[in-house]
């Protein structure tokens, strides 16, 4: 034996030496080591500092239950991961790990002052203090608490890795590839079932990896499973959550164990739907609760055996065992057989199985029954232990450099609990075991409470002659919760386990109480004098172990975060320097700056072009729905506020849509193409919502109607040509449509061809100018746009964006649903009573308009506002008052919904919702801004060309 690595044994590959560093010191390990086993092999016992008291800590466990040995691993910019368990980090060449939560170093941590002051920092101390003086909380106390708390450092740079995700389906999902899980998989391998076997470790085998006697069985079994075409084995994959209807989330770790960074995803989220689930998650050994149980070198007996058998590493040269369970004896025997001195076996029980005693004797191990460890000597490592007979005060000291604890076993019922399966308390095991399933799932092996580890005594704390209120016997190692903290909580009236947990924070550390929950429960039960089942059970919630944000986000990263919908003309806009804005899922060109123009200059120029010549606008994002069938007009008549039945084919109509509660939800101009065919338009953001709402009424309220709805938003590219020259640009390109004002009046639609492709040509205007909206099949949108640009070049055709569109429509008093209305606005409020069919007996939302507060006077109404100073453009969202001299809180009577510089009028204009607004025409109101009060006069909403003559050129 050289150092702590045995000369032989274990599953590590001794032919592949690996160098890595921990806290700046370089060490050697072997392929197959974890960071924990490799450091142990180098004699490193000190791995970290605890959360609250900064006590030195070594390894407690050997797997993902480890609460103490948390490290940060960094591998270049952005690849910094805090809080990893050293027992679950595989070593690779060049691995760089650091300990956490210590300053200046792991050995000398100034934070350990908290340990000295521990008596003043019991559970809940912060509830009772830091209240005076009041101002100190924000500036002094809280920042100090925050700095002391936390474990590792968060990453500070963007993670360059990416993550993947997949859906998988199987007939049988087995979680845990220990002997029980492998047996279940073997059994199913001969069937036609699709089987997935998941295991969190780097190789399947679970407990079998710790038992050389099973290695040949394991090898053969894995070979058989690999050969079975219906079985998929996933290693390094943690099933972290069990969701409704046998839906299991798992994360596969793909690259973290590799020395070379590779281009593939770092981790992959598996979203598995299983016909049946078998949980074979095993059991986790419990620590014992006694003074000094957290000194580095005190660890779970099973963990010590794992290091010994699987990694060929001993945790000490002379180990002692403190047992309350038979399993620890076997772990101690394994150490003795491997040549490690076993200083003593101490068992709290007065009698144990004769066979164990005989084996101990044969191995020459001293045994003390009915004794307990009452103290552990050493600060950064075990130097010896003090042992006392139960109930007595005699003390004897035993020299050793490691102490193994065998406190019994806790079945891993985490996923079972996620699935809402019920649990039953087993007094003999001192643990909850699976009872009735809630999904198609069963537990096999140790997680079902059945195992061959022998039996034990269930005990909350070890007997000690010392004053229990003065010793630190740890329950939750990471969060530094001691038995006395739990007693304090009970004393202070926290009687439910949930309260005790929240008050003491036991079980709330990053291990989520895997080793502490049951001890905490037992201690609480003892303190309360109630049976465990009356104290309660803290529920397990996903995830089983912590999972990476990036993996849970899956593909949704960078460009794949969410689709940005672009029209077929978007590429042209981008090439021509457009500035974009995001509207719902779409991006739209907001303006087209030229030669260093700012937004205002560009928008003014674009507006001038539309008013004086012709502008071209990409309106493709407008929602479109084709409504077809003999009852199409009847259906629209029921949905919209205005009448639709009499609309003639070839004509268009503005439609206003309410929710059933009477508030405006959408609007748009729609056209009747044929008696049984309408082309509806909706707002950009409202398209999906409106279609769903219409389908709802159609399918569930009026299923008798023969009408069908089809989204055609993406079928058509829509190009708006607006301005006095619009017809001139269009005329030469259109075939089969007479564009003359007589034959093609405002609010009409014609079908024909443009540049050889079919078009639905609307004569509509959202600018007040002569206007057309050209619908062509989307594939031709960009080519048509370019053709129109060249055709209109001589006439000054100018592309304009959404900002100019907003100005132009505001000059005409046209509203934008969602800007001038906000989900609390009725047609009357918006001045749209003209669009409500007075004679219609019913339409969606009509009844709600008659509700008392909807029909009441004094509601906010949409009006125009003109600032006293024409150069001042109001801020959208600014509030309006009648009396600017009043004290705060002021009575606000309205707010500005739209506000622009109007190039056509040479002054600012605004739309606003104002209480009783239409009765206030000409009235002076005030807009108090932070620096001054602006005076505004209420006006009508149509600022430009109120007679509408420009439409008809």
């Amino acid at each position: 034996m050289s150092g702590f690595r045995l000369d032989q044994g274990g599953r590590v590959d001794r032919s592949r030496s690996i160098s890595f560093s921990f806290d700046g010191v370089t060490y050697q390990g072997f392929a197959g080591d974890t960071l924990a086993s490799a450091l142990l092999a180098n004699g490193v016992l000190l791995f970290g500092r605890s959360f609250k008291y900064h006590r030195p800590r070594g390894l407690l466990g050997a797997g993902s239950e480890e609460p103490n040995a948390l490290v940060s691993v960094s591998r270049g910019p952005g690849r910094h991961t805090p809080n990893l368990r050293a027992t679950a980090v595989e070593v690779y060449e060049g691995l760089t790990a650091k300990s956490q939560n210590r300053w200046p170093s792991l050995k000398t941590d100034l934070g350990a002052i908290n340990d000295r002051l521990g008596m003043f920092l019991p559970a809940g101390f912060y509830n009772k203090t830091f209240m005076w003086p009041r101002s100190f909380w924000d500036k002094l106390y809280e920042p100090a608490i925050r700095r002391m708390a936390g474990l590792g450092e968060a990453p500070t740079q963007e993670d360059p890795d990416h993550y993947g995700a997949v859906y998988a389906h199987c007939d049988l999902l087995i979680v845990g590839a220990g002997p029980a899980g492998i047996d279940a998989a073997l059994e199913a391998s001969g069937t036609t079932k699709r089987v997935i076997l998941i295991d969190e470790q780097d190789e399947p085998g679970g407990g079998a990896l710790d038992d050389p006697a099973l290695w040949s069985w394991l090898k053969e079994s894995l070979k058989d499973l690999a050969a079975a075409p219906n079985v998929t084995v996933l290693s390094r994959t943690t099933a972290f959550g069990y969701y409704h209807d046998n839906f299991i989330g798992a994360v596969e770790r793909l690259t973290d164990h590799q020395a070379e960074l590779c281009s593939g995803p770092r981790e992959k989220l598996w979203r598995i739907r299983a016909g049946e689930v078998i949980l074979a998650q095993g059991a986790i050994e419990r620590p014992l609760v006694f003074a000094g149980n957290d000194v580095p070198g005190v660890m779970l007996a099973s963990a010590a055996r794992t290091f010994l058998q699987r990694y060929g590493v001993v945790v000490g040269k002379s180990v002692a065992l403190m047992a309350a369970h038979d399993s620890g004896w076997r772990d101690a025997f394994a150490h003795a057989r491997a040549g490690v001195n076993v200083a003593a076996i101490i068992d709290v029980r007065a009698t144990v199985d004769a066979e164990l005693l005989a084996d101990a004797e044969a191995l020459g191990i001293a045994v003390r029954l009915a004794h307990s460890v009452t103290d552990v000597h050493g600060r950064l490592g075990v130097k010896g232990i003090t042992v006392s007979p139960n109930g007595g005060s005699a003390e004897s000291r035993i020299a050793c450099d490691a102490l193994l604890m065998a406190g019994g076993w806790t079945p891993s019922v985490h996923l079972w609990s996620h699935s809402k399966g019920s649990l039953a308390w087993d007094d003999a095991l001192g643990a909850y075991v699976p009872d009735q399933p809630n999904e198609k799932v069963r537990c096999v092996g140790a997680c079902s409470g059945k195992w061959n580890f022998g039996s034990g005594l269930v005990i909350d704390t070890l007997p000690t002659p010392r004053d229990q209120s003065r010793i630190k016997a740890f329950v939750d190692f990471q969060n530094d919760v001691t038995a006395k903290d739990i007693h304090l909580a009970v004393r202070e009236g926290f009687k439910s386990i949930e309260h005790i947990k929240r008050y003491t924070t036991t079980g709330m550390a990053t291990d989520q109480g895997k080793t502490s929950n049951l001890n905490g429960l037992q201690i609480a039960s003892q303190a309360l004098g109630r049976h465990v089942t009356e104290v309660g059970l803290t529920t397990f919630r996903p995830p089983y172990t912590p999972q990476t944000f990036g993996a849970l986000a899956g593909h949704a990263q960078g460009d794949l975060f969410q689709p940005t919908r672009k029209t077929c003309i978007d590429g042209w806009a981008e090439e021509h320097g457009a500035v974009f804005e995001l509207v719902a899922q779409w991006r739209r060109a907001r303006y087209f700056p030229q030669g260093g123009e700012d937004m205002h200059a560009a928008v003014n120029r674009e507006c001038r072009a539309v008013r004086s010549a012709v502008g071209i606008f990409d309106a493709s994002t407008l929602g479109k729905i084709e409504v077809v069938g003999p009852d199409a007009a009847e259906f629209l008549n029921r949905m919209y506020t205005n009448p639709w039945k009499a609309l003639e084919p070839g004509r268009c109509r503005y439609g206003l849509l309410l929710r059933e509660d009477g508030f405006i939800t959408d609007d748009g101009v729609s056209a009747r193409l044929a008696p049984d065919r309408f082309h509806l338009t909706t707002t950009t953001g409202g398209a999906a919502r409106v279609l769903n709402m219409m389908e709802d009424y159609l399918q569930t309220e009026w299923p008798e109607l023969d009408v069908w709805l089809t989204s055609t938003t993406e079928q058509w590219a829509v190009i708006a040509l607006q301005g006095p020259m619009a017809r001139k640009v269009l005329e030469p390109l259109v075939e089969g449509i007479d564009l003359s004002p007589e034959m093609f009046p405002h609010m009409a639609i014609r079908e024909g061809t443009i540049c050889g492709v079919p078009t639905r040509l609307f004569r509509v205007s959202f600018t007040g100018e002569l206007g057309f909206e050209i619908n062509v099949p989307a594939a031709y949108g960009r080519a048509l746009w370019e053709r129109l640009m060249s055709a209109g070049a001589a006439l000054g055709i100018t592309p304009y964006g959404t900002e100019a569109m907003h100005v132009l429509r505001a000059e005409k008093g046209f509203i934008i649903v969602g800007q001038d209305t906000d989900g609390t606005v009725t047609p009357n409020d918006a001045g749209l009573d003209w669009a409500v069919g007075k004679k219609k007996p019913d339409f969606v939302g009509k009844r709600s308009l008659a509700r008392p507060d909807i029909a009441a006077a004094g509601r906010k109404q949409l009006v125009g506002l003109l600032t006293d100073d024409p150069a001042v453009v109001l801020e959208e969202g600014a509030q309006i008052v009648a009396d600017p001299a009043q004290a705060i809180p002021m009575t606000m009577i309205g707010h500005v919904t739209s506000s622009y510089w109007s190039e056509a009028l040479g002054r600012s204009i605004a739309l606003a919702m104002v209480e009783g607004g239409r009765q206030r025409m000409g009235e002076m109101l005030y807009v108090p801004m932070p620096d001054r009060v602006l005076r505004v006069r209420v006006s009508g909403m149509v600022f430009y060309d109120p007679e509408g003559v420009r439409l008809n050129v």
Binding site: A154, A165, H499, F549, A556, Q557
Partner: protein, 417 residues
Amino acid sequence: MTRFSAFSLFAKALGGHQSWPEQWPDASPKPAYDAIIVGAGGHGLGASYYLAKKYGITNVAVIEKGWLGGGNTGRNTTIIRSNYLYDESAHLYDHALKLWDGLSQELNYNTMYSKRGVMMLAHNVHDVQSFKRHIHANRLNGVDNEWLTAEQAKEYCPPLSISPNARHPVLGAALQRRGGTARHDTVAWGYARAAAALGVDIIQNCAVTGIRRGADGAVEGVETTRGFIASKRVGVSAAGHSSVIMQMAGLEFPLESYPLQALVSEPVKPVFPCVVMSNSVHAYMSQSDKGELVIGAGTDQYVSYSQRGALHIVEHTLAAICEIFPIFRRMRMLRTWGGIVDVTPDRSPILGKTPVSGLYVNCGWGTGGFKATPGAGDLLAYTMAKDEPHPINAPYNLDRFRTGRLIDEAAAAAVAH
């Protein structure tokens, strides 16, 4: 009541902390009370405290079917703010915010209210318009809320990505500096301890099974799993279970209960100084004093009492978090949990009298109830003591659904065009 202070902590420490009294006694029901509150969350316990403290009604029972503070009080992401748009909302939430300030001292219990600022991100022109509207309205209502440019937002919260190439770029933010967080459990515990000290009985593990009404229709008391308890005044503050309780009194309510999930990361050293909310990306986050990143996820789409949320909600939430804060992609989710939120049609609460005489209700807070805790408690107490609502909660009556005078903050931020 033993006064909590550094001094008392010191003194008790010398005695091995053996002499701390119970923070509140575990009471058994008496036959009758002057007032009963159903639901021992922060709101209900707060109401009992204010009934005793401000209105001298000390013969009060708070009855709870589980353990106190075990509902949404202990399951939320503890965001506190008051920068609401409508006057009614601003007055309601600012009333609460003013009570938060000084609550630790009033209760002699450190609720860890931390004014670290709540920042709401604007990602598009519509957000900007909407937030400006809020800011102007808040200013004239005396509620602090200020506009930050993207650069100022980044300065206030360094982990924020303000890349213009982001799918949802940050165009600016609205910041309420008085906003922040508190430690959720301590709010319930602090109220419980202070109320108990004034004589309030806190009765846990006692589920209401019926509401008894007299011949005149008025409330006479509640039937519980621990027997009938008489009282002429019953206030129901039962969050997600409000519908079920109101039905016991024969009342149908405009409420639906949805699962809401939240999650935390493993604790790390201080990295995130404030609260950030993004409605467009659907993410909100803060860092607890313990060091965990506390993240609110969305609600599932269906009515449920299961306290069990779906994985895809978590996927979408964390994708959103990583989009806004890309440095956190390697952080790890430690714990998720679910609550049941009761939602009204206008997503504002119902707080006041009911059609049944002697029966009062405080419900419908949806995802936003924690921030209102002291205010809701105070106003429920006022309403029960005076048998009429306080002017602040008067608009939050049940009748608004009939008249149409809804208080719909979410609709006011509606996205369309």
